[in-house]
């Protein structure tokens, strides 16, 4: 089977013949996709806020959209990092802010309120994915109050710690005597 990584192997080094199972679970892949989506959306919001506000009939809120863009980018980077769970929860919170901002624009005199309703639907769908991914990628570290095995008998000194201390003192005494 062809493996891309074999192309960059130094000549003579072992090459992959058959890949083993990956540690990545479907929820990790979902988190990764959401991370990149977040960065993509953030870039659009940051660089083209007017396009966004015009589509939603919310002209005048460009600064808010740009701020949300920065938030999306940061949450995306966090989601792609080792701390993906924190990033996903940040995205869930961000989805709430997005929904609140959209609801504020859902007024009777807004000619684009249909677009806002569509956007709200999308935010709802993405929020469900964010929530699901955040639930599924919870860190598996044991809680602080979990019962742990203790190792009080693992000194590492087969002759006992006192013997180790005595030997060390003896060496120090000999060294001092040698200096004087």
């Amino acid at each position: 089977m062809f493996h891309f990584s074999n192309i960059v192997r130094t000549k003579g080094d072992p090459k992959i013949v058959e890949g083993g199972p990956s540690l990545k679970r479907p929820e990790d892949q979902l988190a990764r996709a959401l991370g990149w989506f977040s960065i993509g959306l953030g870039v659009v919001e940051f660089f083209a806020p007017r396009r966004v506000t015009e589509t939603l009939g919310m002209e005048g809120h460009e600064t808010l959209v740009r701020t949300f863009g920065v938030r999306e980018i940061l949450a995306g980077i966090m989601t792609l990092s080792v701390e993906k769970n924190a990033g996903l929860w940040a995205r869930v919170g961000g989805d709430g802010l997005d929904a609140a901002a959209l609801l504020s624009g859902l007024t009777a005199d807004n000619p684009k309120k249909g677009n806002i309703a569509l956007a709200l639907l999308m935010v709802g769908g993405i929020a469900m994915l964010d929530y699901r991914a955040a639930q599924d990628t919870k860190p598996q570290r044991p809680p602080r109050d979990a019962r742990r095995k203790l190792y009080p008998n693992r000194s590492g000194y087969p002759k006992g710690i006192e013997s180790a201390r005595t030997a060390a003192k003896q060496i120090a005494a000999n060294a001092t005597a040698g200096r004087t």
Binding site: H3, P14, G20, L23, R148, K159, I161
Partner: protein, 391 residues
């Protein structure tokens, strides 16, 4: 053969790969009998150290039996010899090797142009530890090619179990060097941050080198209990103030010697705002390391003291209190371990029963379970301190 292969962040797989071959007359091939996951492998697992490529074989704590030697190995190694493989690849001939500075061997990094750019000058080649240090395939595998094998080996006798000898490859000499470079005096207090495998070895080394008092700092009860068993007074930084407790234990003078066995991924806690800031900066890639321990050591160390840093740092650390460091006249001693400088003495100590490094092993599993064990070790599940893999 089977090998643990890096495929990206948090993605290590047990793949089938081609067997290694002799590429140079100074090579040897080792049939691996035991290997281990090192704390610094977790930095690669998290992709915090640049220079890994998908397809790289992990691992730099390895021992086994010589099954093939190149024509240039001379009579220093022969088929059937039992060897521990030091994680630093050394030529034994360059100026640095002759000075005993093996981890900065000038010959063995086959991608020295990368190291020259990143570090200013090249350092030694390392097994399974990024292309900055040569991109050599690592030893979490069934077989390992050892370059410069005539110099890069520690011959060990039969009759002593692998578990007692394996850590001569890295963590035991690393802990030992961390303590030895502190120039410990019989009146000294040595404070050690981090009670992982290297921290545990540093504790025992400081005791064996005659420290008056050893203080170990961590937050995990199982590691603190192991540290206490090794002769240390312990501080759980989640329950008590490290600064206050160190002052109390040293009559307000501060420890003369401080050892950082934590490195670039220090614990993040809401009560320590600098750790939160470091984490955020690391996440957005404006800082590569989280140097909370370095800051704390510089602040708390007794003036004129020594700071020893075996913990791995990869790039740039912000907000180090250089004013305190300079005005207190501290010295910092650090570096990858000059493994072969110490191993004759350490092997003798093992043979004489002065120390048995196998105390640190908490999990032994087949190589095929290695990928899962990276997660268990990282998450400190099942009170995991050290994982040994059996190919």
């Amino acid at each position: 053969m089977k090998a643990l292969v890096w495929h990206g962040k948090e993605d290590i797989r047990c793949d089938t790969v081609t067997d290694p071959e002799i590429q140079d007359p100074r090579d040897a091939i080792i049939k691996v009998t035991s290997c281990a996951i090192c704390g610094s492998d977790l930095h690669l697992f998290h992709n915090y150290i640049p220079g890994m490529l998908p397809g790289d074989i992990m691992g730099h704590e390895t021992m086994g039996e010589v099954v093939e030697v190149g024509s240039g190995v001379d009579r220093k190694l022969k088929k059937g010899d039992r060897v521990v493989v030091p994680f630093t690849i050394i030529c034994g001939e360059c100026d640095q090797c002759k000075r005993g500075n093996f981890s900065v061997c000038e010959t063995t990094n086959r991608k020295r142009h990368l190291a020259d750019k990143a570090f200013g000058h090249t350092t030694a080649g390392l097994f399974g530890y990024t292309h900055l240090t040569g991109g050599y395939p690592g030893g979490q595998a069934e077989y390992l090619r050892v370059p410069f094998a005539d110099a890069t080996h520690i011959k060990v006798p039969d009759g002593i179990p692998d578990e007692k000898l394996l850590f001569l490859s890295d963590i035991f000499p690393t802990g030992w060097q961390a303590a030895a470079q502190c120039d410990i005096e019989p009146t000294d207090t040595v404070a050690i941050w981090g009670c992982g495998p290297v921290g545990q070895m540093a504790i025992r080394s400081a005791i064996l080198l005659g420290a008056n008092q050893v203080i170990a700092i961590d937050c995990l009860p199982e590691r603190l209990s192991m540290a206490e068993a090794g002769g240390a007074t312990t501080i759980n930084f989640e329950n008590e103030s490290v600064l206050e407790r160190l002052e109390e234990l040293t009559d307000g003078r501060g420890p003369e010697k401080c050892i950082d066995c934590v490195g670039m991924e220090s614990h993040v806690m809401a009560s320590l705002p600098d750790t939160l800031l470091d984490r955020a900066k690391q996440m957005v890639m404006v800082e590569s390391d989280r140097p909370h321990v370095l800051r704390e050591m510089i602040y708390v160390c007794r003036p004129g003291g020594i700071i020893s840093v075996p913990g791995v740092y990869s790039g740039f650390s912000d907000m180090l209190p250089m004013g305190a460091f300079m005005n207190k006249g501290l010295q910092m001693r650090t570096g990858q371990t000059h493994v072969n400088r110490w191993t004759d003495d350490l092997l003798r100590r093992i043979e004489e029963g002065e120390i048995d490094p196998s105390f640190v092993i908490t999990h032994t599993v087949p190589l095929s379970q290695g990928p899962e064990m990276y997660q268990v070790f990282r998450d400190k599940r099942d009170s995991c301190v050290k994982v040994v893999l059996k190919p």
